[in-house]
């Protein structure tokens, strides 16, 4: 199967990129001001103790040796330890990742479910009031500081109206969900615990809306542009000429082709949403990777940041591959030979 071979080749090509990313994070960790050995040794350390810690950390080794130690550790699953949580970074990432994944998935679902129809509406009513409103929404979406929007939503829906909780992922009174996925919504639904599903939904609404807004705006803008372009094509005129109802023209002929470039944008938005989760999680106290990243950055706890950069590098690469493979499925003209 051609597509499977293509996907496999792309997966293998991640390896050199990851080597590059690990070189980058390694280089970064060497410019950190403040000597990690000094930090670990504490202020009262004698010069001998300090020297010993330097040797233990391998900081006396030549750089290539240090890099090798770092990378072979990564491969074995040793991503270093967090100074702050005093736990292995890999364990922390496993703990926090499901929360971020859940948030990003909900946000991207909103972004696609609203953004694509908005873009279509905008394109078929081009330059009419609907289009103007949708373009204004797009403009605001890409220009709005996410952390500020988060605060406005908190003030309005949380504090003024009191409709929705403004922080956290779940009411602690409900206990922790049991289940394997780590996604509270999924685990609670599988367990048939609807009270928990409702509570989790209430918690995720505001953060997910905030996170979805820039993605929604970009997707709408892109759908509009590519649909307008497609609708100008000869085959669309042919479809109209042969008497198809407008709905079939727009969805069957227009959107089907316009969606392919939009798909790239959705893939990219996924990456931005992962980045944006840093801000959104910080404001809403959402216990995910983003909050972990902020806390680590502020305390100069560097191993977690390197771990997050690596993890996100892997995830983002996988998303891009998925998008490229989806291209092949949606558009028979794309050749993956």
């Amino acid at each position: 199967m051609n597509l499977a071979r293509y996907a496999l080749r792309r997966l293998l090509l991640i390896v050199p990129v990851l080597v590059g990313v690990s070189l980058l994070t390694f280089a970064l960790s060497r410019v950190v001001p403040g000597d990690p050995a000094r930090l670990a040794a504490g202020a009262q350390a004698t010069p001998e103790m300090y020297e010993q810690i330097r040797r233990e950390f391998g900081l006396d080794d030549p750089l290539p040796v240090q890099y090798w130690t770092y990378v072979s550790g990564l491969v074995r699953g040793d991503w270093g330890d967090s100074i702050l949580s005093r736990r292995p970074v890999a364990a922390d990432l496993r703990l926090y990742w499901p929360a971020t994944l859940e948030l990003v998935l909900v946000a991207m679902t909103i972004a696609v479910a609203v953004g694509v129809p908005l873009g279509v509406l905008s394109a078929i009513r081009a330059d009419r009031p609907t289009d103007q409103v949708s373009r204004l929404v797009s403009l605001l979406g890409v220009s709005m500081p996410a952390f500020w929007l988060a605060l406005l939503l908190q003030i309005f829906f949380g504090l003024r109206l009191g409709w929705l909780p403004v922080s956290g992922r779940l009411d602690p009174m409900l206990g922790a969900p049991s289940g394997g996925t780590g996604l509270v919504l999924v685990d609670a639904a599988l367990a048939g615990n609807w009270a928990m599903v409702r509570d989790a939904l209430a918690h995720v609404v505001l953060p997910a809306l905030t996170l979805s807004f820039p993605a929604l705006a970009t997707i709408a803008r892109f759908t509009r542009a590519s649909l307008l372009e497609v609708l100008g094509n000869d085959y669309v005129r042919t479809a109209r000429a042969k008497g198809l109802v407008e709905r079939r023209v727009i969805f069957g002929h227009g959107l089907r082709n316009a969606f392919i470039p939009t798909l790239t944008m959705i893939g990219l938005s996924f990456g931005w949403a992962m980045g944006g989760s840093v801000l959104v999680e910080t404001v809403y106290d959402w216990p995910g990777i983003g909050l972990y990243a902020t806390r680590s950055a502020l305390t100069l706890d560097f191993m977690p940041i390197m771990g997050i950069a690596l993890l996100y590098g892997v995830v983002f690469s996988l998303i891009n591959i998925a998008v490229d493979v989806a291209y092949g499925v949606l558009d028979p003209r794309v050749s993956h030979a």
Binding site: P16, V17, G20, V21, L23, L24, T25, L28, S29, V31, V32, P33, A123, A126, D127, D131, L139, L140, V142, S143, M144, P145, A146, F147, W148, L151, L152, Q154, I155, L159, R224, A225, L228, E229, G232, G271, W272, M274, G275, G276, V278, L279, T282, V283, A293, T294, S296, A297, L298, L300, F302, I305, M306, I308, A309, Y312, G313, F316, S317
Partner: protein, 309 residues
Amino acid sequence: MSAVGVDQRPSPALGPGRLGRRFRPSEQARRAARRFRQSPLSVVGLAIIVAVAAIALVGPFLVPYPDDASGALNIREKLNGPSWAHPFGTDHVGRDVFTRVVVGARASLLAGVVVIALALAVGTLLGAVAGYFGGWVGDAIMRVTDIFLTIPDLILALAFAAALGPGLLNVMIAVSLVWWPGYCRLARANVVALRDEQFAEAARSLGGGRARVLFRHVLPNAFPTILVKASMDVGFAILTTAALGFIGLGTQPPTPDWGVMVSDGRKYLREAWWYSTFPGLAILLTVVGFNLLGDGLRDVLDPRARRRG
């Protein structure tokens, strides 16, 4: 560097002919200005940017409470709502939020412009070299951009900013380190498209050295699209630096910074909505301005990419 004024004189030996691709300033400029004025939104964008720039330049000398821009304390007036005396209210130590928003314009605008200028300079240079000379050097440069583009912007910026330490200058460096690959790719694509054009061939056949042809002939023609990207990116750079300020890695107190102010106001959401709202509004307005301006400039400078409808 003026907009498109990067040596646009046609070489005397070449004449116009097929070389119409090069700009002839007067006619070009007039047409561009007309096209720009036709889109009211771009004019609004330009007006916003001019206003913000004016505020950044002279605002600090005109604000009602100049002392509030530094570490002044005025506890008795803390967290007062908007009034005639304090149109944007006061903050948790009684400083005038309006004054601090106005004074903060300078840092935000400066950050946006410096970040993009750095990213543009580094990225364009590397991209031009990669595109014009190709070979393993070009490949190596492009592989490095791949690596940078693999990690989401904000995470990479956070990592750089944390590594460099807090402070506005370090944040600016961190964000430009994240953004140069975009310019590198764009410059490379443009240079690859232009390097075999007739005007470049002509310049080479007249004995122009490789560097000369690249920097005097090819790159200036690649510049308009790069400039369009830059004009939009300034807004996003302001967003990113504000975000890092909000997290706590940017400007250190007491210097006013929009991102930091939004963050400070967060602790008083319940009793003082104005504290976070107005600095955030300033960020939003400035970024909207740059986006509108960028859209307008794209229509003018990069007609091939003009939006439909």
